[in-house]
Symmetry: none
Subunit: 415 residues, 2 copies
Amino acid sequence: MNNTTASLIVIGSELTRGIISDKHGQLVSRELTKLGYHISQIVAIPDDGTIEQILHALLKSNDVIIITGGLGPTSDDMTRQAISDVAGRKLVKNEAAYSRLYKRVGERIHGANEKQAYFPEGFETILNPNGTAEGFYGYAGNTLLISLPGPPREMEPMFRTNVIPLLSSLTGHEYKPRLEYSTFLIAEAKLEELTNDVDSSISWGTRFQDYRISLYAEGDEAECERDMGELQNRCGKELIVPGDVTALSALTSYLRENGLTIATAESCTGGLCAMLLTEEAGSSVYFNGSVVSYAPAVKEGVLGVKNETINTFGTVSTQCAIEMAEGALKKTNSDYAFSITGVAGPDKSEGKDVGTVCFGFAGKNRESECVMLKFTSWGRASIRRKSATAAFLLARCFIEHKENLIDITSRWHYI
Amino acid sequence: MNNTTASLIVIGSELTRGIISDKHGQLVSRELTKLGYHISQIVAIPDDGTIEQILHALLKSNDVIIITGGLGPTSDDMTRQAISDVAGRKLVKNEAAYSRLYKRVGERIHGANEKQAYFPEGFETILNPNGTAEGFYGYAGNTLLISLPGPPREMEPMFRTNVIPLLSSLTGHEYKPRLEYSTFLIAEAKLEELTNDVDSSISWGTRFQDYRISLYAEGDEAECERDMGELQNRCGKELIVPGDVTALSALTSYLRENGLTIATAESCTGGLCAMLLTEEAGSSVYFNGSVVSYAPAVKEGVLGVKNETINTFGTVSTQCAIEMAEGALKKTNSDYAFSITGVAGPDKSEGKDVGTVCFGFAGKNRESECVMLKFTSWGRASIRRKSATAAFLLARCFIEHKENLIDITSRWHYI
């Protein structure tokens, strides 16, 4: 069986009235996707009985339908009856479930709760360790219907303990891990174009995040790796790396493992790199500090950039970047330092285009290096984020010292 | 018209694959419920073209359908075509939208982006201040279709600014303008408790954001204001202010209007304040720079904090905070400077509890001030955000110089 189709119906007027937000959609779709299912719909509907109509509509095109909610004892909880009608099975009392329920609620069972011991004939029950509503599953035609209670603290353990194993055993799907890659600095549209171009028989999915785009590949592992190599050749291998990593974590894990310290001198990023470098607890092990030299006078006064350098080359120059990095290295007494000075926009500065960013790298007993990059993106926030990402990637390259940064960045395309 | 029926379709394979969770369902259903709509379905579907089939199914039973996602330039973004097919209107180029797009992306328009200037004939466009995908709306039979981009930072402002007024005007439902207040440093649960307590006949809603919680009050204006005064008395009036403002904007607008410059010296916030102060274009007018003095040696070496101060009082002390602020003032030659040094956690430091944060404020020809705050929140990110917010609020108070900062903060409760 391939790409078995599944849908999720989430029932609750508190959802369609916007009082709470759905918690099940992401969990169910993520786990079913891992099992190889294709999720065709996630539908939230009110407690008003529309469940039956939706079930009919989805039965035709789904192999599995998971329904959450509507199993409580109150009158607006109508899932039990709807499933029984759709499956053409009458509701019958399950004695074992009845005694479990009795054990839990005692005499209160002789009221609304009693119907929680009734299930469509021939359906199996799913134990609920955290509530009175047991789940149940069975077939309506060829479609497997699985009904679970709505509250996440009841639903989630039942889903994990019972439903996931049920679905993998019933369908014979094996848990298919996806290959994940982290990509940096390349715009989503460009990445899609490139993957479409390269793609042989593997399928791609992307996930846009602030500092990277994750690329998921599915298909034959050897083909994936071959295609990924091709992509790396086109874009620059530092910009597409296997696994779930960030440019920041690649740098900080290296610093931590090697007992090294770093500092930054920032202009257009305004402290963004320092802020990111200190997000993690214990970052004082590798991070000493930063000089955010926004005004030229601070570049000179605090970092010791020469007035002549600024007058001759401007603040957005590789010359200024190198002096900034060397100043930060010295002032903070760190093993390494990097600097960023560029035009974040929205307007040109010193005759340089928006997106022009210079980076300087300095280290104890090392010759400093610098590069100038030209980002195609627009918008201050985007250029600042890209600058920080590039700085982290290049700082790690600089510290590893295998290749000149200018050679590395000459292979970076589509940034 | 009463109880007009509406549905929401959220498009994105990243949703049905469980990579991200839906952000629009709750917002749309909450706001439409307030306008008197009955939400019949919230449906999430993949980017695979099923949108057309779902649209056909929902047209019959809905007066309004809002569709988010699928407006991007890549090939899996098919909403535009599906709506055009369902409405029986061909896609035509909108010249005004084309020139807006050209202005934004330039020559890159001659690729995938160009189709973002095409809309179903006769449909109106909805401006998108934060991206290239404009929205659009028009009728398919008697059903109003409204199409918006998927990313929340693009969709939400468009929904609030354009869609809510459109829906209230078109259906004759009264749109009740809500009074908006911005609140700082108070946890959401506490705020809800306080508003429930104070509430007479007005209704409250909150919107949680990174650096504030917006509080929306509905009801008689005089009653709202009286209740708000009561809330301010309980929490501290600087922490609940009318309108849509941030602590940052309150400070930077004041600096800009008065031609003043500022600098920061940051320890536990690691550059967060500097990063925020430079988010806006043109921030070099008021921001000179920052020294992120994470290591004690940088506090001494760059900011000139006395070794004796650190040895006697520790780095998390009001004494150290004042010397940091004075150092930043002098080094950057600014009109004002503030400093932050505290325990962001997860562990105690220098015997001080997590959440203990000291702030220093210095100005030219002004006596420095300092305060120590104890935040109840846990987690590094939360303490860093709260510290930045408090620093911005207090910096403005310090510059205005109406009251001592210690007196002001003595009235701050529930932070």
